[in-house]
């Protein structure tokens, strides 16, 4: 190990540095395990001052820095950089302040997403973004990825639910962004930082907005004999002026996989199902859910079931939440995609995906955050069959290209990371990519923060990447993925 790294010991306690090869392996990838790289070392600071010192040191020594939360990201955003330092925020795990009166919580970046909602539940408040990995993923990672979840059509993404950040620049400067007021002077750096994938600065504190917890909800399950009709059902709900708290779709392959796995009570003969959650005050939920039932029947649903009680509602949701592991049972490996499209094109895009499936000779299961057009096609393959991994990657890339072609985007909520770096070249032209680089340059002149991620160099615009699941085992197999 070069001696410069040894100088970290001058200002960090020995326990805050990991440099032995065996321990470093824990950090060689995030949940996109197809990509692995050993970092030069991992640092685990426990104070902002230490983060500043690390940044100043790396800046002076021109050592790349990759910030890391829980490492649950699906796009390789926390993949180490050769010879770089992994800056783990794991020790920043405290909720610093809960102000129920002004409906904010100040937290450290390593705080787990779910623990915020748990901590504020006594005040009848909640933190809205609920990515499926919320039991393990951290708030700092959520901000870096602008994470969504199943309730974002109504309650917004991370960018809508944070008020302020403390960041440390690559020069080691601590800056306040945003405000506990509803706005701050100057450019919207809070929005720019959100979803910037660790490319601009390191987040060391976050102020979250809290919302009043809906007092009541109702879950409906609708079955359709065609995907197109299910898509029409989604449009009809929106057209009626109703914004459901959650609106999910699953195709027949998904329904069958889930039913075999958890017995959620889904109709296995249906071409597609819609799962719709209505929340609010009891009077409102009662009126609106009956309205939605009529709308769904009118849109061609063969059957609409309203959960009789919260236990049945949870059972309906359990099926959707079990979709990823259920697929893991029917295929040796699967590869999860994350495109977003205008909802009106859902039937056509699914037809294209099915054509591609035949063309590549690989199966595909579609689960879909239908409310906001976010597709998660799961490509089925077997890594032990020579060439199949490459085929799955190519198939995935084609799906993202179809999303762009239909006016959508290559990533709705998983981020670009290293995975979709090639597809960025399809979504953006060279001038736009250069503008992104200019933004990065404004924050990080020497390109030391998470280099090589999120925005491809023009030269790089020809490479591919992917999230792969071997033998049904995602990294973090205990986490729900939906």
């Amino acid at each position: 190990m070069p001696s410069s790294i040894d100088r970290l010991y001058e200002f960090l306690p020995a326990g805050a540095i990991i440099a032995d090869a065996e321990s470093l392996q824990v950090y060689e990838c995030d949940a996109l395990s197809a990509y692995r790289e050993l970092p030069r070392c991992v640092v685990l600071p426990d104070s902002i001052k230490q983060v500043q010192e690390i940044m100043r040191f790396c800046h002076a020594e021109k050592i790349p820095v990759v910030a890391r939360g829980a490492g649950t990201g699906l796009s390789g955003g926390a993949l180490p950089v050769t010879n770089g330092v992994i800056l783990s925020l794991a020790k920043f795990d405290r909720i610093l302040e809960i102000d129920p009166y002004q409906r904010i919580a100040r937290v450290q970046p390593g705080v787990r997403n779910l623990s915020v909602s748990e901590a504020v539940a006594p005040y009848d408040l909640f933190y809205a973004p609920d990515p499926s990995s919320q039991i393990a993923c951290t708030i700092g990672g959520n901000v870096a990825e602008n994470s969504g979840g199943v309730h974002c059509l109504k309650y917004g993404l991370t960018v809508h639910n944070i008020a302020a950040l403390k960041i440390v620049t690559i020069e080691g400067e601590l800056l306040d962004i945003g405000s506990h007021a509803l706005d701050a002077p100057g450019y919207d750096l809070l929005a720019l930082m959100t979803g910037s994938e660790g490319m601009l600065a390191v987040i060391v504190e976050i102020t979250l907005k809290l919302l009043p917890k809906p007092v009541h909800n109702q879950i409906l399950l609708a079955a359709y004999d065609s995907v197109e009709k299910a898509g029409n059902g989604v449009a009809a709900i929106i057209a009626a002026g109703i914004i459901p708290a959650g609106l999910e779709m699953m195709d027949n392959a998904g329904i069958r996989a889930v039913e075999a796995y958890v017995n959620a009570g889904y109709p296995v003969e249906a071409a597609a199902i819609l799962l719709c959650e209505i929340d609010g005050v009891p009077e409102e939920v009662n009126v609106e859910s009956h309205k939605v039932q009529q709308i769904l029947l009118h849109s061609g649903a063969t059957n609409v079931r309203m959960a009789k009680n919260s236990a049945e509602g949870e059972k309906f949701w359990a099926g959707r939440k079990a979709a990823f592991p259920a697929v893991g049972r029917i295929a040796a490996d699967y590869y999860c995609m994350d495109g977003t499209i205008p909802r009106k094109h859902i039937a056509e895009v699914l037809r294209r995906i099915s054509d591609l499936s035949r063309q590549f000779g690989l199966g595909v299961v579609n689960v879909f955050h239908a409310g906001d057009g976010n597709l998660h096609p799961l490509i089925l393959y077997d890594v032990s069959v020579p060439g199949e991994l490459k085929k799955a990657e190519d198939f995935g890339g084609k799906i993202l290209e179809v999303c762009v072609q239909f006016g959508g985007t290559i990533t709705g909520e998983h981020g670009v990371g290293i995975e979709k770096i090639n597809q960025m070249c399809i979504q953006f032209n060279p001038e736009e990519l250069l503008q992104f680089h200019a933004i990065k340059h404004a924050f990080d002149t020497d390109h030391l923060l998470n280099p090589g991620k999120a925005v491809p160099t023009l030269k790089r615009c020809a490479e591919f990447g992917a999230m792969h699941v071997h033998a049904g085992q995602l990294p973090f197999p205990e986490l729900e993925r939906f």
Partner: protein, 358 residues
């Protein structure tokens, strides 16, 4: 406007920006001239965006409208209303000629803002012309999109200093099925207490202000939800009804009229107690946006606002050549200047509109 004409227009705009760069001539971006009073006074050749107008696409069931920046805000809202939808951030017009681009560039939102979000929360994508003369597209027409940095939101409220907005995609929402305006006489501290407490409960709140004597609120949503909330709150119907909120949004209430003093907008955390500043107050946004008519010195107003964890903007009146927006901390200012250079290296676009330095 048809495709050929619009591409000719974009080409013209582009050539103007490129030409301005070669001679260092600043350009002042102008739409319907309704918000010229806001921001710092800036000089340069006018780049009139009104010819860049028209709704490009609107899909009510997708909850998205895409229109050119010079499109009249009234046309956008009328179109949405015909499908029972709205711009949920309740944009202030400040004059009938207001354009969509103007409201996005100024980043202004109305009384509904604390409860549904601000203009930036609803921006999905933009096509813009940078100070380097490049026409670039960021974001898109979909709700969830994390490809690339969020330039669309960065442009929102940037007062045209980073780029000329050409096309904007905005998320829209269904208009509320039912709305009611309520009032009750209160002192400041109990009004502030109610506004903050109620915002933490499911009460269909869509606006809350305090005029010095009355706590006024608006409830919006499904009829059933509004009725349920009314039962809990026990307030009187506001004599001016919903019109009151429109007048507040447009600064047509008596408080805003016949004012010969500077009008300050003070943005603070919503439960901030009375600020020790002389003048007349009007509290909006559930306590988070405070209007102050005062002759007090700029320094003191800024200092008191900052101590309270907020910031102060000289909204109307005063010295428009001075600092209108709250001064930035040194580190943040450096980032602003670098970002400005990343989009507009020669400082051609709306030079000095936000801050003297750029």
């Amino acid at each position: 406007m048809d495709g050929t004409n619009i591409s000719t227009l974009y080409q013209e705009f582009k050539e103007r920006v490129i030409a301005a760069n070669t001679v260092g001539q600043p350009l002042v971006i102008q739409g319907g001239r309704t918000k010229g009073f806001y921001g710092r006074h800036c000089e340069g050749e006018i780049l009139d965006t009104r010819s860049c107008s028209g709704i490009i696409s609107y899909e009510p069931t997708e909850l998205v409208i895409t229109a050119r920046a010079g499109t009249s805000l009234a046309e956008v809202e009328k179109t949405l209303a015909s499908y029972g939808q709205m711009l949920a951030f309740e944009p202030p017009y400040f004059g009938k000629d207001a354009t969509l681009g103007g409201i996005v560039a100024c980043g202004l939102s109305g009384p509904r803002r604390p409860y549904v979000g601000s203009v930036r929360d609803f921006i999905l994508g933009v096509k813009c012309l940078t100070g380097r003369g490049e026409i670039l597209t960021f974001g898109g027409q979909v709700m969830k999109n994390v490809a690339g940095y969020d330039v669309s939101r960065l442009m929102t409220g940037a007062h045209g200093t980073l780029g000329v907005l050409l096309e904007i995609s905005i998320k829209v929402l269904p208009a509320p099925e039912y709305e009611v305006s309520l009032t009750r006489s209160k002192d400041f501290s109990s009004a502030l207490h109610d506004m903050n407490t109620w915002a933490g409960r499911s009460l269909a709140l869509s606006a809350a202000c305090y005029d010095g004597q009355h706590l006024n609120i608006r409830l919006s949503g499904k009829r059933s939800a509004v009725h349920a909330a009314m039962k809990q709150l026990n307030m009187d119907e506001h004599p001016e009804g919903l019109r009151y909120w429109q007048d507040l949004c447009e600064q047509q209430l008596v408080f805003f009229k016949n004012n010969n003093k500077a009008l300050w907008r003070i943005s603070v955390p919503p439960a901030t107690p009375v600020l020790d500043l002389p003048g007349e107050w009007f509290i909006d946004w559930g306590g988070a946006q405070r209007w102050l008519k005062s002759s007090e010195s700029t320094e003191r107003i800024r200092h008191v606002s900052e101590q309270a964890g907020g910031h102060a903007t000289l909204f109307r009146g005063g010295d428009r050549n001075g600092e209108i927006f709250h001064p930035l901390s040194p580190g943040i200012k450096v980032l602003h200047t670098r970002l400005k250079k990343a989009f507009d290296p020669e400082f051609i676009l709306n030079r000095g509109r936000m801050y003297r330095e750029f």
